[in-house]
Symmetry: D2
Subunit: 279 residues, 4 copies
């Protein structure tokens, strides 16, 4: 079996028309159409509830791999809830809302690579399998959880409007236990983007090796490359964040010492691929 | 055990401070706080994708109980997907997005009661238990299903905007089978409300009797009483609707003969209670 | 609309062949086949993990309606996890494992009716909608939760065998929070049935009233009538039980003061219907 | 960041005590405890419902990568439903039934490697995230689905016993559509193991590359190495299998031309790791 260049110029697992099943990812099949994942670019449109917070700078540092430094604001962190739609380049998934939607919760830590501000995501959870697996392709440590967040409303009394005093909540459950709760009460609109949502993410490509071999890939530090970033008006106010239950040890070292501003906004981007930071 | 007047002027199952557990609904408990349901009023704010369609008028008539007539437009029907937030009078549920959100799909049939236009809901599905049970309190035949619908986006490329050409989809799965798919492509905005979403619903109160007794309640024809109705701007265009699989017989007699306009809008209302139409 | 005698000698909502849609329950439809619930008898076969425990006798008493007394062993309680299959009289549901299976957790309190030992179920949760609704038909206060319990194994190393030292766990999550955890370590097999699983259940028929009317049914004390009870060999040992999080107030008054024996067994019964204890 | 030898002699992503977060898999964390996956060995105990069937031999061949041949019985295939418990070497997961249980459906194709009978798994679905990701570590193409299968009963009337005439069903739903249904009616017990459940699985290690680099791993043909295999008594009879809906193209080329025997049994194994067949 030889490698080859597949659809969209990205390497596929085997050659179409060749001597075996092919595909961008497992499952490999005669035409490649069965692959669970499509190749990038992937488009995303999401609704975000975000809380800035402070974490013990030493704890944060222990989550940074070689090459990443704490940077100018050590201990700056954020908790982010997002309700996404996604699609591949041709948009085919959009006609199936059960496939193109997912919820996500993630933690971001402020850091730098060669003096450039970036964010490190030590933990993330999603509620669909395809985005989870796609996370691992990028080095983003997505696990499976149950995620809920408030939806701003424009009519009726069952929810807050995006207006001063509006309150928006998020909650994460993992393995049947409530892990995180967050809340934002918005005060004013702004076009100032939340810092940690406006810097590149630095991930570590790492996947368990199944058989020992000479060409085993070492963990690699990579940055996600995105384009077509769009922010809606950003509603900003005060944020609240609590780590509740269910996860211990390393995760809890990133519990909030202090919470800061909260933000509610819509966000769009296209994830084009990854770029090697250091090998 | 005696009946009594409970919270919000509605009958509770037993008297607080009396000689047994109490509550608006099961589970009864010493203070009544364990009741699964809160008493009305209930507020709702939702995002709706709706397709007008035509059904065999004879089939529709067979779903109308005595007292309801086919009315001026026999065979007019609609398929409605909605993503809701709800809360009780005090809004307490809104801080828990996992509790206050649900998805719904329902069929509406045009009908009249004593010459007044109404809608009959022969089938409905929701994806949360509290709205399902609350449906039966009202005589609305809600069952359990998996419901997904497109979310309009304002940024990014993973979804349609509420603008000419925008496409929005809905899908219902019941017991592991895809039952219904719908799609709306919007063309223009209007303030003309979709007819079947703007008339009262006429339900039948009916609950299986467990022990034979003299005071068994007969099925009753009731109308839901709502207030504070709000519509957003309505985006209207063409609709598509298909009954796919999984439900047979009576349900399929309501399959679309023809599809008409499609609508996408936000909707708010407060459900105040029920009114007896005929006994 | 008039009441009538329906299928299996039970009242249906309206008369087949009559002037409106019919059925044992909502949804009513032309033939009655769309009813979400089938009429009893209902057959059940389950795998049970049960922990006997002691509750504050005063707390237990506050959950007993008029007519039920604490009896000879006030404060005796049990926590029961069960994995069920169920079917209607004709067994039709058994070919669809996604429909005929559900998980359940419930609390039982020791009590007496006119000197006869019974059990009162103040709280129950299931993970499927049909058993939840069927619970309310019987007056059993079933809510919706996520329930998991260990499966005994006969081969391999991923689980305990039903043999001395075997450990079996149960867990309940409600609205994203872990509410209860239980564990049983079995020591010996016996044919002595756990007391609270071998007495009739006394429920209260109560359903919220939607419109005020003269013939409103008062809450009624009823007993479930079961036949064809079968127990497997019962494995008995020590039990553990903890109330964790997520439910407050009335529920927590039933927290364990002390835990007793634990039991693991298979159980079958047929639920024939209900019998009025007092009106 | 340098590679190193981690827990259980397997490579970890980085060195504990070193200069960055570590772990057998993502998420990397200071102690490595946050890793979503534990290293092998993994123990499994399962309940299996299996249908032998015939597939177009040419279609099967198109799913075989270079190195695998159709072998002595081209077109032999099987559809397998299994309800699993799993645990790591120390058994820690067993006290959390919500974590250690999952359902699986997979297709097996008969094949050979260098004359030795093996099975190729072109498609598999599970209902939990950890087993899905662990599948990709092994090269097993597990996706996410909803899986249900009958549970044999020993008491009561809601299910079949493992006895002549007992019927056991399985069903797979993917993205809201029923994909596969299977049924086995058992006739007799035997100790003859179903052929395709008693040969090694040959998988292809393939994971999408995110950044182009010199040491990119090529797809590799590997065999899973298992130990401690245990079968219960095997109940055998006739099998039924249907591909229903929802998956097209390549998957449907493996639809049954003919169904053969069906089998119901318990199965245990320990998955020790992988062995390279060809590079």
């Amino acid at each position: 079996m030889t490698s080859s260049i597949g659809i969209h110029g990205r390497p596929s697992a085997a050659e179409p028309g060749g001597t075996g099943p092919v595909g961008y990812s497992l499952p490999l099949s005669p035409t490649g159409e069965s692959a669970m994942l499509t190749p990038p670019p992937w488009h995303f449109s999401g609704e975000v509830i975000m809380v800035d917070y402070r974490v013990d700078p030493d704890a944060a540092r222990r989550f940074l791999p070689p090459g990443l430094e704490p940077g100018a604001d050590p201990g700056a962190a954020a908790a982010v809830f997002a309700t996404w739609q996604w699609c591949s380049q041709d948009g085919a998934e959009l006609t199936e809302p059960g496939r193109c939607q997912f919820g996500e919760f993630l933690i971001l830590l402020s850091c730098e690579f060669e003096g450039r501000p970036m964010a490190r995501c030590p933990y993330a959870w999603v509620d669909q399998a395809v985005p989870m697996m796609r996370g691992w392709v990028q080095g983003m440590p997505k696990q499976f959880g149950t995620i809920h967040q408030s939806r701003p409303v424009t009519v009726g009394r069952a929810g807050s409007r995006l207006a001063p005093g509006g309150r928006f909540d998020g909650a994460l459950t993992v393995h049947g236990r409530r892990v995180v709760e967050a809340s934002v009460t918005v005060e004013r609109s702004t076009d100032q983007r939340p810092v940690l949502h406006d810097v590149p993410l630095a991930h570590t490509l790492a996947f368990p090796e199944w058989v020992t071999s000479g060409d085993r890939p070492r963990p690699k530090l990579v940055a996600s490359e995105v384009s077509d970033v769009e922010f809606s008006t950003i509603w900003t106010g005060s944020g609240d964040l609590a780590f509740i239950d269910g996860l211990e040890g390393d995760f809890r070292t990133l519990a909030p010492l202090e919470t800061g501003a909260g933000h509610v906004f819509s966000y769009g981007e296209t994830l084009q691929g990854g770029r090697l930071l250091s090998d």
